[in-house]
Structures are given as structure tokens and as C-alpha cells.
């Protein structure tokens, strides 16, 4: 099967790739060396593979890579500005919002989509938005703490 050329913006850089149709977005980004995006449940319920496609969170395990054609992909690797961490990343560290860290990239990316849309969510809103992201280690509360702390740090308008 002939590969298709796609052009997309990946964490701010224009990229080009040749992909066969059945290649998944997860395979594309990990194939490009961005291994922060993780595969776990493979059924769109755990959120470890969350990336933003034109700002919307999607399960990259169940999204075709060709869907990225002409669009912007944002992965966990795109959040920090050089060595300066994104406020969400810093808050996750400060609040001990992870342990094994396997869910963390997807968790942070999902939270970013939330704060992009709702800069000052309350705890209930955070819980509801993040309900599709599973963490097996923390018991979740510290993650809510971190998202709320980041939103405050980012000075989101209430």
C-alpha cells in the first residue's frame, strides 16, 4: 500500500511524514521519538495516550495518523519552554501528582486542554473533565490539587 504524505505542526514545528493509512497517531509521534505519549488500555478509556489535535484532546491509540494532516499536534514534549516547565508540569511536581509517571503525560496534556478552555475550573470540573484519564498510583486527589494550583499560578480569570 502506498504511503501518504502528511504535513502537520508538531509541538510548534512544521513536519512532514510518509504514513500508511492504518498507522495510528500514537505510532506516528512515538516513531518520531516523542515517547512521552504512552500506550496503555488501547481502548480510549485510560488517557495515557492523550495528545491534542488542533487543541482538542484525543486518544492517539485510536486516531489515524493521517488525521493529523494539515493540523497541529501537541504532545507532552511540547509543553515546556526549553528547560522552563509549563505551570502544570511544575504543579504536578510540587503536589506529588504522580508516582510511576506512566499516566502523567496524558494527564498533563488533558489538563492543559481543560485550562485552555476553562482557565479557572473548580475541583468538581477538574474531576469531571479528567474522568477519562486513569491513574493507578495516586488516588487522584493530588492531581486535582495540581491542576487547581496550576490554574491559579497561570492567573486564570475566574
Amino acid at each position: 500500500m502506498p504511503a501518504r504524505e502528511i504535513r502537520f505542526r508538531l509541538n510548534g514545528s512544521e513536519r512532514r511524514a510518509e504514513v500508511e493509512d492504518q498507522v495510528l497517531l500514537l505510532e506516528l509521534v512515538r516513531g518520531l521519538g516523542l515517547a512521552g505519549t504512552k500506550l496503555s488500555c488501547d481502548m480510549q478509556v485510560c488517557g495515557a495516550c492523550t495528545v491534542l489535535l488542533d487543541g482538542r484532546p484525543v486518544s492517539s491509540c485510536t486516531t489515524l495518523a493521517i488525521e493529523a494532516d494539515g493540523r497541529a499536534i501537541e504532545t507532552i514534549e511540547g509543553l515546556a519552554d526549553g528547560t522552563a516547565l509549563h505551570p502544570l508540569q511544575q504543579a504536578f511536581i510540587d503536589k506529588f501528582a504522580f508516582q510511576c509517571g506512566y499516566c502523567t503525560p496524558g494527564m498533563i496534556v488533558a489538563a492543559k486542554a481543560l485550562l485552555d478552555e476553562l482557565p479557572r475550573p473548580d475541583r468538581a470540573t477538574v474531576r469531571r473533565w479528567m474522568d477519562g484519564n486513569i491513574c493507578r498510583c495516586t488516588g487522584y486527589e493530588t492531581i486535582v490539587d495540581a491542576v487547581v494550583a496550576a490554574s491559579e499560578r497561570m492567573g486564570g480569570a475566574k
Binding site: 500500500m1 500508511e20 493509512d21 505510532e27 488517557g47 482538542r56 486518544s59 485510536t62
Partner: protein, 286 residues
């Protein structure tokens, strides 16, 4: 899982082209939009197609419009768009709320309402409410277009009335009269709802104006309409009305037992959630 077997995606730019592709590839092809159900089934190996017909490039079947008391949802419109759509939120707030609680945020961002209907997974939220609202879909095939009520579209578990060369292009949802109340409540402990009840009624001084519409979804193979003709004019709060409604709802379904519960329990839940839907109508009317 983890890898998809090979297939080719055909990007249709018009409905005619999509119809033509369906004719050409027959059972080897599936219509593809959000992919949340289709790609999952393919990863699980329960479905295998050599060709996917991508309908997302078809501009004519996207977005939400309203004309003459009907909200028209294009087939490629996602749940994410519907829960945020200002027009839909104004015209059918209960529907927008239901959309905001479908699956999780990522599935909503990619999955479409039309895909949800076309896949006919019985444990789903939208069908019951759409049936209650009297929604219809447009199916376009090589012999032209036809309108089918959602109630007639879903014919069984993963089975629909969509013909082999047809494309579901739009969902048309009549906006209920100004004084009608609409509610959708569900019980969900797993990834999908195990009981969903849609209720529509007009209440005046606590009594039904005409018969209320009640549809139970997610529990049986297809959404089931609850027989309510005797309830026209009944007091919504009266114990005998409530008992009659719960009884009628329980009798309307043949629950599918699964990990969320057995037949008896689910039938009980149907009664409970039918009354909760009713309570929501009454509370809203008050």
C-alpha cells in the same frame, strides 16, 4: 491489539462519491468519521475492513443548522461540537447536556453522533433521547435520499436499516414545543450506560397535557418506547401515576444481562430511572 491490520482510507469529498465507494467495495468497506467505535472494533479484531470511506471531507454534512423548528445535525459533527453548540444548547438544552456526558472528553472530541447511531451499540445515550424527540435521519444511496425515524433506524444489536450503499448524512431533531420539558437520566457504572431514560412532557398545574413520551435506552437491544396513552391528563405527582409509569417502563424492556447487572436488577433500574426522569420534568416545570 496495538496494531491495526492494513487498510486503505478513501477520502470522499461528496456524498455521491461516498455512495459510489460503498457500492464499489461493499462489505469490504466501512464508513469512517470519528473512528472511536470503528477503529476500536478493528483493533479488537471483531471487524476487519480493507477500505474505510472517510466522510469527514464532505463539507455538506457537517455542522448544526436550525430551520422551521428542526435542528439539523450533519453526520460528521462530533459530540464535542454538539455539547458546545450555542444553537443546540438553546434549542435542545437537555440534548446538549446528554452529549456532554457521553463517554469521556477524548471520545467526545473525535466521535460523532451519526457514528454512534450507525454503529448501533445498544449501550448508548443518544438513541433513547432521539427516539423520544422524534428525530429522523437522512440516508442517501444510489437511489436517492430517504428519511428514516431513529426509532426505525436501529433494528438490533449493531444492526441498522442503513442500506449497503447508503450514507447517513444528517440527523434532524424536531425542537419540542416551547412549554414541553425534556429530561434524560441514566445509570452508568461501567464505561457505557446500562439504563438511560428520556422523557418529554408538557405539564400544566402538575398534570400531563397529552400523554408524556418515555423512551428507555441502553438496557434492551434497541430503545423501547413506553406505552403511556392512559396517562394523558394524569397528575404527574400522583402515586398511582408514578406506579403506572414505572410499571409500564419495566414492562417495555427485555434487559440484556451483562457485567453491570442481571435482568431483574436492570428491570428494576428502568422503573427507578423512569421516575427520576419524571421527577426532573416536574422539577423543571415547577
Amino acid at each position: 491489539m496495538g496494531t491495526l491490520r492494513r487498510f486503505e482510507v478513501h477520502r470522499a469529498t461528496s456524498v455521491d462519491e461516498a455512495v459510489e465507494l460503498r457500492r464499489r467495495y461493499g462489505d469490504d468497506a466501512a464508513v469512517y468519521a470519528g473512528g472511536t467505535e470503528l477503529l476500536l472494533a478493528m483493533k479488537l479484531g471483531v471487524a476487519r475492513y480493507a477500505h474505510l470511506i472517510d466522510v469527514k471531507p464532505i463539507a455538506a454534512i457537517s455542522g448544526v443548522t436550525r430551520t422551521d423548528g428542526i435542528v439539523r445535525v450533519g453526520a460528521t459533527t462530533t459530540h464535542w461540537e454538539l455539547e458546545r453548540d450555542p444553537l443546540l444548547r438553546r434549542a435542545l438544552p437537555a440534548f446538549a447536556r446528554m452529549e456532554a456526558n457521553v463517554a469521556n472528553v477524548r471520545v467526545r472530541a473525535a466521535g460523532t453522533l451519526a457514528g454512534n447511531l450507525a454503529f448501533a451499540e445498544p449501550h448508548a445515550d443518544p438513541p433513547a433521547l432521539l427516539v423520544a424527540l422524534g428525530a429522523r435521519v437522512t440516508l442517501q444511496g444510489s437511489n436517492g435520499a430517504r428519511m428514516v425515524a431513529v426509532a426505525d433506524l436501529i433494528t438490533g444489536v449493531y444492526e441498522t436499516a442503513i442500506g449497503p450503499d447508503e450514507i447517513l448524512t444528517h440527523i434532524e431533531i424536531p425542537v419540542p414545543p416551547e412549554d414541553a420539558r425534556v429530561a434524560y437520566v441514566k445509570f452508568q457504572i461501567l464505561e457505557r450506560p446500562s439504563v438511560g431514560v428520556a422523557a418529554i412532557a408538557t405539564l400544566r398545574e402538575g398534570r400531563f397535557v397529552g400523554a408524556p413520551t418515555l423512551v428507555v435506552g441502553a438496557v434492551d437491544e434497541v430503545p423501547r418506547r413506553v406505552a403511556t396513552p392512559r396517562l394523558a391528563g394524569a397528575s404527574a405527582r400522583a402515586a398511582e401515576t408514578r406506579d403506572a409509569i414505572a410499571e409500564a417502563a419495566r414492562a417495555a424492556v427485555e434487559p440484556i444481562p451483562d457485567l453491570a447487572g442481571g435482568v431483574e436488577y436492570k428491570r428494576h433500574l428502568v422503573g427507578v430511572f423512569t421516575l427520576r426522569a419524571l421527577d426532573e420534568l416536574v422539577a423543571e416545570a415547577a
